[in-house]
Symmetry: none
Subunit: 421 residues, 2 copies
């Protein structure tokens, strides 16, 4: 997405506040605004975060105006002395601040108090760049602000509180943009997902599709062993953009092959639950090193209770024996982290729960407990069905406790999914 | 934090990737890096996010170098064609790319394959700006990169994968910064945490401490019912900064009172495990709506297995009866989501596991399953000890499924902690 082309539909975002720069909070507004604008044919070409220093905010607005037609900023509209966004916009575009009586009226209505009782800090919130349009905030006190520059650019200011930002964006800004920036192009985003295949291998296979400047634009990312290929198609209409996507989707599906599990909003967990539900199968889990993470990840999906019969967390050898019937001889001969124990755990939880599939995870998450023959990161799995039990061994090297636990859990979910195929 | 003062200790951050601008993922690296640098006396003066367009990345590096002595960038180091960060740095500082054999060796070692078997895309990852220093990545394949400019500025490149970023930052970059940027002023950050008390109530109590311009600077934030008060003290020495903190810490502890559970790196889960370990007590959990999240959250803490005896996930009525001995009459008379069922679950899991404390959670996470008398968000808890069983009821309104599950789990952890007091 070059900033040179299509500059009329390019948006810059600005997040303002020391709490962001100090790392006290994570900026979730930025991705939310991006996702909201994309279907309008508007793309975010850059995003900046600055603190509560007026000169930094002014400079950031000037940079944003230099590269885009629309600037959307969040934060710095509150009543305290470090809320300086309106003043910074006034300086950046060279106008004065002006007192807006209508803002006082809106605040008084919202606070259910007479205007005369409002404090000096509330009065401060009514000082907006001269010529600005007030966007009524039905979700908080600070007004949204829309300022149009002499050269036809648009600045929108919203509070940083996500709930207020979402309200103003959806109810005030999006309708205005739809009217004044009717989409001259449609942008359709589509994602395809695969588990357990290397990103570099997939990158090799779809290399011809990833050349810059192509439509659709193709990118990859990886998170917890799931590789996602993202396609961004542009067309004069949505139908045209979708037509551009169709052949590329087929090529990417082929490239993802052995690891492919779904598209769009589908996650590994939701794909696995859908596979279970399609067969009307149930699952029960015996978790040692993952200690509930496997079950909890499946349970994040609405409706999971239909397929997720029950689970046990069996850290101790006693619990493995008592809850899943693992033989003490097995634990003694092979250890808790072994294919043999994994097999007995899976068979045991399946029999005791009555589930179609019994799955077990036993491994060494660390930081302690590793040995030369059984290092931190070694994990065994059992998958038991009416046809018997299979075991799997994986090694997650170079990871900390929770890195091992996350991967161990993801692989278990993938094993369940594959069992349904 | 003016960019004019102290520019030698100012850092600019850069996050690179279309997936960020498209809003597909939230940038958690930025706040993490900020928090890590602050104790070194280094402050982030600005942060920018750009997509995978080479000219945009080059321009962003040039802007960052113009305003700060240290630039730390994440993303764009992968093997695919849209990974362009090394090339962008080379262009931004005016050097060529050079092939680094040591990177190939490190990748081959990590992948446990001969160098000759590495793909062309792996070779691409070995092309770094000429003169760069390789920072060995023990957490993934893409190397970290450190480039020193002719005018004494420093660029650090890390992969965007949080685990790899954290490893490289803590083990490679922080030690280098400590050696080469010895703090000219000491910044000491101290946090105090409370659970289940309103942020606004705490804000009222510590209002006099929160005036701007004071040392220490005092801020609050809230996450999943934990309110954190953060103190940032500045002094000519660490001792001086700590002296400034001491009286304020006492005032904040007093303000947090009934919810106070710890300070610094302590989390609700780690405080709870520490409380269990201090008494040599054990716990076992029977989870319905949280479905493993409670156990998994406790298990994130290293050494959790000492106190966490076992857990069961009992979604179905059958599992509640079979694994925890809940009477079918109780389920019939009061329903699965009731104080009565919670009590029997807690007593049952305690007796069957032999744990000191048995804890149960049963509720309605949604989106379906709510009724007028038992709406989505209603959760019951049981806490069983040798002294008997107590039940608790909570209502988490206006939240989605996973919001309810997270809060339900946190309250259960807090109930265990309070039982140890």
């Amino acid at each position: 997405m070059s900033t040179e082309q299509l500059s009329r539909t390019h948006v810059s975002l600005l997040s303002i506040g020391d709490e962001l720069l100090l790392g006290e909070i994570t900026d979730t507004n930025m991705p939310w605004i991006s996702r909201t604008l994309l279907p309008l044919g508007l793309t975010v070409c850059g995003s900046e975060t600055v603190g509560d220093e007026i000169s930094d905010i002014v400079a950031a607005f000037q940079r944003a105006l230099a590269r885009s037609a629309i600037v959307i900023a969040t934060g710095g509209l509150g009543p305290t002395d470090d809320d300086l966004t309106n003043e910074a916009v006034a300086r950046a575009v060279g106008v004065e601040l002006e007192f807006y009586e209508e803002v006082m009226e809106q605040m008084a209505t919202r606070l259910k108090r007479p205007i005369s009782s409002l404090s000096g800090s509330n009065r401060k919130q009514a000082n907006l760049p001269k010529g600005a349009r007030v966007m009524k905030n039905d979700w908080g006190t600070a007004p949204g602000v829309h300022f149009s520059t002499n050269d036809g650019k648009h600045i929108f200011l919203m509070p940083g509180v996500p709930r207020e930002m979402k309200g103003l964006l959806q109810e005030r800004i999006v309708p205005w943009l739809k009217e004044h920036y009717p989409a001259r192009q449609s942008i359709v985003v589509h994602s395809l997902h695969a588990f357990g295949v290397g990103e570099s291998l997939i990158g090799e296979r779809i290399k011809p599709l990833m050349q810059t400047g192509q439509n659709p634009n193709v990118g990859t990312r990886v998170n917890n062993m799931t590789v996602t290929v993202r396609l961004v198609a542009t067309g004069e209409s949505e139908a045209q953009a979708r037509a551009v996507l169709t052949p590329v989707i087929a090529q990417v599906r082929d490239a993802l092959r052995e690891g492919y599990f779904g598209e769009g909003d589908i996650t590994l967990a939701s794909a696995t639950l859908a596979a279970l539900n399609a067969k009307n199968w149930t699952v029960a889990c015996a978790e040692s090193c993952t200690a509930g993470l496997l079950t909890s990840t499946l349970a994040e999906i609405p409706g999971a209770s239909a397929a997720l019969l029950e689970s046990v967390v069996v850290y101790s050898n006693e619990a493995k024996t008592k809850l899943c019937g693992v033989k003490p001889e097995t634990l003694k001969a092979h250890g808790a982290v072994s294919a043999e124990t994994a097999a007995e755990l899976a068979v045991g939880i399946r029999e005791r729960s009555g589930a179609t599939i019994g799955v077990s995870v036993t491994g060494i998450a660390g930081p302690d407990g590793g040995t030369p023959t059984k290092p931190v990161g070694l994990v065994f799995y059992g998958v038991a069905t009416e046809r018997g039990v299979k075991t799997f061994e994986r090694m997650f090297a170079g990871m900390d406790r929770n890195g091992v636990r996350e991967r161990a859990s993801s692989v278990a979910i993938d094993l369940i999914r594959r069992e349904c195929q």
